[in-house]
């Protein structure tokens, strides 16, 4: 009988052992992959889906070169905050992550390693491109981006040549009224011009809705801050909401598709409409170049206009330039991992491979001094340089002060309902003004 009891225990132990051994076995697999040179490893949670593939490629190059393991994971569009939250709770948390600006930093500052002694910080051109918490350097921007109305020069010239075109030159297209005239006349002549509409579809799928609920919404916020002489607020007044409405109406009424279709139009749809020459204007930024190049529209035909919303003096308005991509290093990671991460960042901004990838493949303009020979071959970036040279005032990125993701989502929902005719503009106003105060209070309670 005793024998049987022992047998039973052994069997049970082996079964349980099999289960538990399984749990531990992955780490052993990692160790062999890690290589011998360094014990630290890097896990980068990337924010920008447009460059997901290139980051993976770059990480692989680094691993091949140094033997240090670099994992890159890219969050789906619009899910970065939630994914960062769930990943940070795991014990293999990201060592390198991103915040979008001051609001993002407020949530994550307890996780940020002070980068003031890092090599990457020494390479930054100016302190305009970093996020500070007291004296600590918590975040470093790695890409400076610009957005506006990307336009097709060839198509626009074709319009200028139309006998009854009211606007005859790009130089006259420097305010909302002119933009409205051009857009409406293009829409009226869309068959003559061989296009489907003046603007690409204003898609409100999650892959595209940020263009309007975040980037377009930046303009009324920018002008309000400017008028009030502030750079953030706990309660927005919505002074320029009427301007927001008129630009949104313009997008909707002169588009490639009916407003009733936009709820499922994706970012890809808009990009391909522009790339195939079906629309003249496409609100997006320098990062979109990768999606639209090598199609029907030649590089020299791509330009970018400021987004005019009908504010006095906007003739001098430039493009919207800023960054919502700040690198932060997780200070809760192990020392080796932090060191490995800092080394990786240094390599990215200093090595030939890293610079080539960032500038030429990803098409980034960076704030690093090391990149003077690496300027991206991106016509949209050049457009921005031209505006700056002409002395126009760039519009800063104030959307990084929006109180929460939920605020943006509610605004997006209201914008969509208004567009479809299933809701009134009042609800946009409510989401914008009242929602701001509520979400600000909730986030800072």
């Amino acid at each position: 009988m005793k024998k049987k009891k022992i047998l039973a225990l052994v069997l049970a132990a082996s079964m349980a052992g099999g289960m538990l051994a399984g749990c531990g076995s992955t780490s052993s697999g990692d160790e062999t992959a890690k290589g011998d040179k360094s014990s630290g490893k890097v896990y980068y949670l990337n924010f920008k889906p447009e460059q997901a593939d290139q980051w993976v490629e770059l990480a692989k190059e680094y691993t091949d070169e140094t033997g240090v393991q670099v994992d890159v994971q890219t969050a789906a569009s619009g899910t970065y905050e939630s994914q960062l939250k769930s990943e940070m709770a795991k014990d293999e948390a990201p060592t390198l992550f991103q915040v979008n600006g001051p609001v993002g930093l407020a949530t994550w500052k307890n996780y940020c390693y002070d980068l003031s002694d890092s090599d990457v910080y020494k390479d930054v051109e100016s302190d305009d491109y970093i996020l500070k918490d007291g004296d600590a350097v918590d975040g470093i921007a790695y890409v400076i981006e610009t957005y506006g109305l990307i336009y097709n020069k060839a198509l626009l010239n074709k319009y200028f040549e139309l006998p009854d075109a009211s606007i005859k030159s790009i130089d006259d297209l420097n305010n909302f009224q002119a933009l409205k005239t051009v857009a409406e006349e293009i829409q009226a002549h869309k068959d003559d011009l061989g296009v489907e509409g003046a603007f690409t579809s204003a898609g409100m799928d999650s892959s595209s809705d940020w263009r309007f609920k975040t980037h377009l919404a930046n303009l009324p916020i920018y002008y309000e801050y400017k008028a009030d002489g502030i750079d953030s607020t706990d309660a927005i007044k919505g002074t320029y909401l009427d301007n927001y409405k008129q630009i949104w109406d313009l997008y909707l009424n002169n588009s490639t598709c009916e407003p009733s279709m936009i709820s499922s139009k994706t970012g890809d749809d808009a990009a391909s409409e522009f790339a195939l020459g079906e629309a003249v204007f496409y609100q997006n930024g320098t990062w979109a170049y990768n999606d639209i190049k090598d199609n029907e529209v030649a590089d020299e035909d791509m330009g970018m206009l400021p987004i005019y919303i009908g504010v006095d003096g906007e003739e001098n308005q430039g493009l919207c330039t800023g960054s919502e991509n700040y690198w932060c290093v997780n200070k809760n990671a192990s020392e080796e991992d932090i060191q490995a991460t800092l080394d990786f960042m240094k390599w990215v901004v200093e090595s030939d491979e890293g610079r080539d990838m960032l500038a030429n493949e990803m098409g980034f303009v960076t704030p690093f001094t090391t990149f003077s020979d690496y300027l991206p071959d991106n016509p949209l970036v050049k457009a921005n340089a031209e505006y700056t040279e002409a002395g126009k005032t760039p519009v800063s990125w104030n959307f990084t002060t929006m109180p929460s993701e939920n605020w943006k989502n509610n605004l997006g929902g209201a914008l969509l309902n208004y567009a479809q005719g299933t809701g009134a503009w009042d609800s946009v106003q409510t989401a914008f003004v009242d929602g701001w105060a509520e979400e600000y209070a909730a986030a800072n309670e």
Binding site: K4, A76, D205
Partner: protein
């Protein structure tokens, strides 16, 4: 008699049409999988010809972006191993519950019944945290979780059947000198084979198609299952690549259909048996 035959033919025709309609969504995806991505949402009902046709490009892109082959491997691995472990452990546990009448087994049985009605959302957050704390974010850990989460239904179904096995057979075996383990594997398990099939079918259908549990528990950098790979296409690239999506969908569906055509009888019987007992 004649009238009845006509009636039958008419029904056959109606059902044939209905069947075709039933298969249409899948056929549509198949057709679109050969179409260039920009045309898919514009002209979903057109046959891809001329410049719309892209051959296998969508499939290649789909496989590359989602690492679908690995995802298939992991899905297969997780499903097979989980089902095997569930069958083995739960049948043993069920037999113990049937044959040993104590307060403990009664409570355990009640808990299994209880587990069947608790929706996953109730457990989702805490389960993913616990799994992470115990380092179970890998396929092996997932198998353990599936055993735990699937135990309710499986134990319930096995006990339901084993209660009806006459005690005399087992007693005779024990008297002949069999240990309980021998008795179980030589006598009880072979008799319970139909229940094994039922449980296998039900659990395999659930585990293979499950999206939420693996997506919360698994370390997504290393492991993806097929449903996770499909959903990743929607999310991971900022915008939806409809071409790759169509290719991936076809690849996700075809093996299932082939498997189904071969094991149809078991699957349908399993479902019926499962429903009657459940």
């Amino acid at each position: 008699m004649n009238k009845k035959v006509k009636h039958g033919t008419l029904l056959t025709v109606i059902f044939t049409l209905l069947s075709l309609l039933y298969l249409y969504p899948i056929i549509l995806v198949f057709i679109n999988s050969f179409k260039k991505k920009v045309y898919i949402s514009k002209a979903p009902f057109e046959i891809p010809t001329g410049k719309m046709y892209v051959g296998l490009e969508n499939y290649i892109r789909g496989i590359k972006q989602t690492r679908l082959i690995q995802a298939f491997g992991w899905s297969l691995f997780i499903t097979i191993l989980s089902v095997a472990v569930i069958i083995l452990c739960c049948s043993m546990c069920a037999w113990y519950i049937c044959r040993v009448k104590t307060k403990f087994t009664k409570i355990l049985y009640m808990l299994c019944l209880f587990a069947m009605i608790v929706p996953f959302q109730m457990e989702m957050f805490t389960l993913s945290k616990i799994a992470n704390m115990l380092h179970m974010g890998n396929p092996w850990g997932l198998v353990v979780i599936y055993l735990g989460f699937g135990a309710g239904l499986s134990v319930f179904m096995f006990t339901g059947f084993m209660k009806s096995i006459p005690l005399e057979i087992e007693e005779a075996a024990m008297i002949d000198g069999c240990t309980p383990i021998q008795t179980f594997f030589r006598i009880v398990l072979p008799i319970a084979k139909p229940t094994c099939v039922t449980v296998t079918i039900l659990q395999a259908m659930w585990i293979w198609n499950d999206y939420l549990l693996p997506s919360l528990v698994l370390d997504q950098r290393k492991y993806k299952t097929v449903p996770m790979a499909v959903q990743y296409l929607k999310g991971g690239y900022g915008s939806v690549d409809m071409g790759a999506m169509m290719g991936t969908l076809v690849l996700a569906i075809v093996p299932i259909i082939i498997f189904y055509l071969f094991c149809q009888r078991y699957i349908i019987e399993g479902v019926v048996a499962g429903a009657v007992k459940g």
